[in-house]
Homo-oligomer: 78 residues x 2
C-alpha cells in the first residue's frame, strides 16, 4: 500500500515559485500558458494498511500548512 | 487544458527531506511505514493545446534535474 499526499498552495495564495517557473517556461518558447503553480508530493510506503483518519491527520498537521496550502490524499493498493 | 508534471528523486538517490518526514510521521504515531519520498508537482494551465514534445522538453530541461530526478508528464483536458 502507498499513500500519496499532494500539497498545493491555496488558489488565493501568491506562489512566487510558480510565477518564476511560468516566466522560465515562456522564455523557453511556450508563450501561451496560464497560471503555473508548484506544490509538493509526498509518497509514503505502507507495509501494512494504515488508518485513513491517521493519514488525514498526518497530511493536515504534519505535511501541509492548512493556512496557505490544500492537501489531497490518495491511497493506492500497489 | 492542463499539464501536470510530477518530479520525484530517483530511487537510487538519497532523499534526506523524505527521511526527515518519515521520522516525523513515526513520531506522530504511525510507526509501521516504509520509505517516504518527497517530490514536487508543477501544474501548468494551458489556454490552448501545446505540443507534447515541447512539454516534455520543458519538464526535462527546466523543471527537473535529470541527474537526480525522474519526471512524469500528464496532460488533462480539464
Amino acid at each position: 500500500m502507498k499513500a500519496l499526499v499532494t500539497v498545493m498552495p491555496k488558489p488565493s495564495v501568491l506562489d512566487p515559485q510558480g510565477a518564476a517557473a511560468a516566466e522560465a517556461i515562456r522564455h523557453h518558447g511556450l508563450e501561451k500558458i496560464g497560471r503555473v503553480r508548484i506544490g509538493k508530493v509526498i509518497e509514503i510506503e505502507l507495509p501494512e494498511p494504515a488508518d485513513e483518519k491517521t493519514l488525514h491527520e498526518i497530511a493536515r498537521d504534519l505535511l501541509s500548512n492548512p493556512v496557505i496550502e490544500d492537501y489531497d490524499l490518495k491511497i493506492s493498493e500497489i
